[in-house]
Symmetry: C2
Subunit: 209 residues, 2 copies
């Protein structure tokens, strides 16, 4: 991962770090709800309770801030997913992970979609740095899923020859596609259909119990 760390260098005081973090958190929230283009500096100013000069003290420009938001959301998602994925030792555990993802989407009626997915959709085509960072985020997420599947193999739930790499990508794509459809349909129907179909295929690959 080579996305340079922006302006953290000049941040040295405790209060400064807190302000910076407050800006990133508020920006992440606004950008998730209104998109990057839909998030203005005045709006961010108010949401974070800072002045405009503070924003530009801690970040080169909006692009720089956006990169920090990507890192922030990546961190948040991985921190949330990792514990669920680290303990995959059965098909039921995999289904429990599925339920968490589906329930989260259901609670907001699909609104918002995936924080990384919507950032990627908006930024990937025109912001190479953002695209690279998001590609790395997705790879990290897929890797976490893959390691869960490897755990299931280690536990004897899945056959050793299971293609964990491919299945992890399929599961992640099912999540992303399901969330895209959920956002338009306001239903988790497609998300469930996609995840359940991939999981059914995994089950068919399981060791005969």
């Amino acid at each position: 991962m080579s996305t340079q760390a922006a302006r953290q260098d000049t941040v040295s005081t405790r209060k400064g770090r807190a302000t910076r973090e407050r800006i990133v958190a508020a920006a992440a929230d606004l950008m998730y709800r209104h998109g990057v283009a839909g998030t203005s500096t005045p709006a961010l100013r108010d949401a974070a309770g800072v002045s405009s000069s503070q924003i530009y003290h801690y970040f080169e420009d909006k692009d720089d801030l956006t990169r920090s938001v990507i890192a922030f959301q990546t961190e948040a998602i991985l921190a949330h997913q990792a514990p669920l994925l680290a303990r995959l030792d059965s098909l039921d555990a995999l289904r429990a992970w599925r339920d968490v993802v589906v329930d989260a989407a259901r609670q907001q009626h699909g609104a918002g979609g995936c924080p990384l997915g919507s950032l990627s959709s908006e930024l990937s085509d025109h912001n190479p740095q953002a695209r690279e960072a998001l590609a790395a985020s997705f790879t990290a997420w897929a890797t976490a899923i893959r390691e869960g599947l490897l755990g299931m193999i280690a536990h004897g739930t899945l056959r050793p020859r299971t293609d964990s790499d491919r299945l992890a990508l399929a599961l992640l794509a099912a999540v992303q596609g399901g969330l895209v459809l959920a956002q338009a349909q306001r239903t988790t129907e497609a998300l469930e259909a996609a995840l359940d179909t991939v999981i059914a295929h995994i089950q068919e690959q399981a060791t005969p119990r």
Copy 2:
């Protein structure tokens, strides 16, 4: 589908219809490449070779134009997909459909994603009319896929009890999710993994040959 037809009423001459169509086509292209927010009226003016007054003569405002773009892209995708899906009579035909989708994504290295998917990601949360239209578009797309699967059932390729509804949603979600990941990763790896996994599951449901 209840999204009112905007301002087509006042369009009466042949030349007027041509101008209107030219604006929609140019807007669809720009919005696909730069997003809706990233498409300015001056840019559209130049791309379509019209004056600003013409844009506002044929459309109430940008929202109205955006709705026409959604209809335009929906039409384009369904027209492209329908012939492939109408003739599904074997697993090979389903795989041929898969190849068309994957090849299209590969040709642009994932750039752009799905025209409907990216519109939905940008608009669904804050534009109810757009969301409804896009939901209907996705439903129509899923229905086309479903009818293809029903064809495979009629041909005896799939078992009569196959849940064509669910599988159609899973395939569509696989496409959408695969394209989201393709846009960030610039690879069709995830798209292929997702589609192939769902298709493998369908194959397992096929009649024993």
